[in-house]
């Protein structure tokens, strides 16, 4: 099909605008990369912009040898993978019944859930609940209290509701029960939304900070966010004047940048895997197949 002149203009403008946006977004990242690969002196004196000066891996080196970052990296992976799987599972278990028109009291349940998005008990009451369940100092304390994000659940429910009714009608005729419809029709057809929400949950778990810090007492179980935050922030505490030499060789900016890279690379690596689900629609293929 040939494009009309109007369409050509549209596509051209679209490309230009998107390129412009993309460039504005990539600058800060280049800056961070450059900082992480520059010498401490150059970083401290603020000469680094988009290209490393006095190229050195020292920030990464001190990050990897001077701190238990690998251990916390694996903790982060563990927290994220299991947490995401659990959250997705229960979110589906919440969203699917609520998306069914014949489900009892779906209005009441939805309202009750939205209510908890707005009212929450705060840090200490939640901690007491977690403590009474014996979850303190276990990853259960990270997974369970935040198991279902009502926001994500509503998005999923809305995606389920938008599926065409004809499809499940057909499944019914084939003799599928509710679980059958869910597993064979609804989930495969909702892959873009599932991928998106898995990403949202995953990013949330990957970046979790406050919950880890509050609930986990065993520092060997810390994830990367807590480790890195703690390291950066405590270099700038002034109260502790009595003792010197801690971390004197690192520049906070350099370490911070290196840590940002280490934090962000896994997310960027996973992204293309999920991306394929929302780059093009999957619906047609799965129904016809």
């Amino acid at each position: 099909m040939r494009d009309s002149r109007g369409e050509k203009l549209f596509y051209f403008l679209n490309y230009v605008l998107l390129s412009f946006i993309a460039i504005s977004c990539i600058f800060p990242l280049l800056n961070v990369v450059a900082l992480s690969l520059s010498g401490a002196g150059a970083v401290a004196s603020g000469r680094v912009t988009l290209w490393p000066i006095d190229f050195s891996f020292s920030s990464f080196k001190s990050l990897f040898t001077g701190t238990p970052i690998m251990r916390s990296f694996w903790n982060s992976v563990q927290i994220t993978l299991i947490g995401t799987a659990l959250s997705m599972l229960v979110t589906i278990m919440a969203a699917y019944p609520l998306s069914r028109k014949q489900f009892y009291s779906r209005r009441f349940f939805t309202m009750a859930m939205v209510f908890t998005m707005i009212f929450n008990g705060g840090l200490i009451p939640t901690y007491l609940v977690v403590q009474n369940l014996g979850l303190v100092n276990s990853y259960g304390a990270l997974w369970l209290p935040g198991l279902v994000s009502t926001y994500n659940m509503l998005l999923m429910r809305s995606a389920f509701e938008q599926l065409p009714g004809e499809v499940e009608e057909a499944a019914k005729i084939d003799g599928c029960g509710e679980t059958g419809i869910l597993m064979r029709i609804v989930l495969p057809l909702s892959k873009p939304m599932l991928a998106t929400l898995a990403l949202f949950y995953g990013v949330g778990y990957w970046n979790s900070f406050m919950s880890v810090m509050i609930y986990i007492n065993d520092t060997a179980k810390y994830n990367m966010t807590v480790l890195v935050q703690n390291m950066i922030k405590s270099t700038s505490m002034i109260q502790d004047f009595a003792d010197p030499t801690m971390l004197a060789s690192m520049t906070p900016e350099g370490i911070r940048s290196a840590a940002v890279i280490v934090m962000i690379v896994p997310i960027l690596a996973v992204y293309p895997l999920l991306q394929k689900y929302f780059v093009k629609g999957v619906m047609l293929g799965s129904i016809k197949g």
């Binding site: 004196s45 599972l89 014996g134 989930l187 509050i214 703690n230 002034i238 109260q239 003792d243 520049t251």
Partner: protein, 553 residues
């Protein structure tokens, strides 16, 4: 296409998850039982330890490592450590205490956090315990009655233990001596001269590079330099007047704002000082040789040497720094803030089961020969003592890997009890050029600031200030923030908003924002407590005492 084929996988995952959950929660109750088997008689206590994420790979964790093992082998009790993230210590302590699971011994630098624990009735009074069970700390308290004075709370009982620190300037003001020479100027001694020199530094191309790229002075709002003008004018909210009476309110802030405004209008400061959130831009400018006068936090001259000074010497080899006394002003002449010599660092949880063992453990940590271990390591392995008692690190690499991160175990270590090698002056390694330079600057800073001029930090070191009652504290926080904003607008406001107007607005804000109540609270407190509160003149006495001991040594 069959979705059902994926079902087993899903089940497998959830089963796995289930077993992991169980695995994790099983770990919980084990905590207490580990130590119990060690010996029948040894008491078991628990203690916090700051976590700074600084334990190197392979050295274990901050709560379980060679030093915690060493403590458990050599100390008087079995100690279980609970890591407290340094940066978020308040929230972590809050949940631990609220849930009744806080450790027995709580180390915390933050005075307001300790005060809050006292308000919440979470602390155990220690007078009798120390009287009955302590040897070391009791002796230290007899030697330094100030330790006792500082540890007493408003009900007259002792709740806090701490350490004695060396008194030295916490902030030093550096000027580029080479710039002064280039322009043929003298060290400024009054506020007028300060302004004139800063102006010359800005306009007369002091570095001779032909480009107008220098500032007279560092940023006003954030970072190391931000306190400078407050110290110059003693522009604080709570002060001691000439008659020894307490004076509370925003009155003293006006002169500081006027001076800042004069500097700002003269163009000697970066116009963007307000957006330089952590002062890093200003600091970078100084380290790149673009700023003439800059105040640094020199709480730790050694790390100042290895970071800032070293960077400056490499970036700008021709630079030469000089420490200058604060200029005389119409408000008087002052010193920048000093180190707090009587630093409270630990409290005991009211619910602690074995207070006697805790006191014994405190005693253990107070002993110089024990505390030294966490600073230098094991004698013969990490350091050796030279004949005159000077500790020398044997292997820097090993020291860095095994000892350098352990210093939070020394929160009860009064270093000066070590004699002369506990003093900062004797810590420098003159072989290293930056440290040699730092030693020179340290001595200049002592000469410039350790004298009987008042310190421009109000009544006393912030760690010795009392905690206002909750509601007044809210008002005070709000009104100080509002007044701060008012004066900042006056600094950059030009003809739209003058300092005079700001002073009126500030006064109004103070009156309506709870000022009178706050004043009367402080006045009442002062009339009751003035004999117990340690103030700057006390610290000066301690300084003189310390120096006398150093000379005698």
């Amino acid at each position: 296409m069959s979705m059902l084929s994926r079902l087993p996988k899903l089940l497998l995952i959830s089963g796995l998850v289930g077993s992991m959950l169980a695995g994790c929660s099983n770990n919980n109750p084990a905590a207490g039982s580990e130590n119990a088997t060690d010996s029948g008689k040894r008491a078991s206590i628990s203690s916090t330890i700051y976590d700074r994420g600084a334990v190197p790979n392979g050295m274990g964790t901050i709560e379980d490592n060679m030093w915690t093992k060493w403590i458990n082998e050599n100390g008087p009790a079995n100690v279980k450590f609970v890591a407290i993230p340094r940066w978020e210590s308040q929230s972590k302590l809050n949940v631990l205490l609220a849930s009744g699971s806080a450790p027995d011994l709580i180390f915390e630098f933050g005075t307001s956090i300790r005060n809050q624990l006292f308000d919440q009735k979470q602390l155990m009074p220690l007078d009798d315990l120390i009287e009955q069970h302590s040897v070391e700390y009791k002796a230290l308290m007899e030697k330094y009655p100030q330790l006792k004075q500082a540890g007493i709370k408003s009900d007259g009982k002792l709740y806090e233990v701490g350490r004695m620190n060396e008194v030295y300037p916490l902030v030093s003001v550096f000027i580029r001596e080479d710039w002064l020479q280039n322009l043929g100027l003298d060290v400024p001694t009054t506020e007028e001269e300060f302004l004139a020199v800063a102006k010359a530094f800005t306009e007369q191309d002091p570095d001779g590079n032909g480009v107008d790229d220098t500032y007279g002075v560092g940023g006003f709002e954030f970072g190391d330099n931000s306190g400078l003008f407050r110290y110059i004018f003693n522009a604080n909210w709570v002060n001691l007047d000439e008659n020894g009476e307490i004076q509370v309110g925003p009155e003293r802030l006006k002169k500081e704002a006027e001076f800042k405004r004069a500097l700002f209008e003269a163009g000697v400061v970066d116009k963007d000082f307000l957006s330089d959130k952590d002062g890093s831009k200003s600091k970078q400018d100084f380290l790149n040789g673009k700023i003439g006068i800059y105040a640094f936090m020199t709480n730790d001259f050694l790390s100042f040497a290895s970071r800032e000074l070293d960077t400056l010497m490499k970036n700008v080899p021709e630079s030469r720094l000089k420490v200058i006394p604060l200029p005389k002003t119409s408000a008087g002449q002052f010193n920048p803030v000093w180190n707090n010599p009587v630093q409270m660092t630990a409290v005991v949880n009211a619910r602690a089961k074995e207070p006697e063992a805790i006191i014994k453990y405190i005693d253990f940590l107070v002993k110089p020969e024990i505390a030294r271990t966490f600073r230098y390591g094991i004698e013969g392995e990490h350091y050796k003592l030279e004949e005159d008692g000077k500790p020398v690190i044997l292997d820097q690499e090993k020291y860095k890997n095994e000892v350098s991160w352990a210093s939070d175990f020394t929160m009860l270590y009064s270093r000066l009890e070590e004699g002369k090698y506990g003093y900062v002056e004797n810590q420098f390694d003159e072989e290293v050029p930056a440290q040699k330079e730092a030693l020179r600057l340290f001595r200049e800073s002592i000469d410039a600031y350790m004298n009987d001029l008042p310190v421009g930090e109000g009544l006393t070191h912030s760690e010795h200030m009392p905690q206002l009652p909750k509601e007044l504290q809210v008002k005070f926080s709000n009104v100080t923030a509002a007044v701060h904003d008012i004066y900042t607008r006056a600094i950059i406001g030009g003809s739209n908003y003058t300092v005079e107007q700001a002073a009126l607005d500030a006064e109004k804000q103070w009156e309506t924002g709870g000022g009178p109540e706050i004043i009367s609270w402080y006045e009442e407190w002062w009339s009751k407590e003035k004999d117990n509160v340690l103030i700057w003149s006390d610290f000066y006495e301690i300084y003189q005492q310390q120096q006398a001991e150093l000379k005698a040594d």
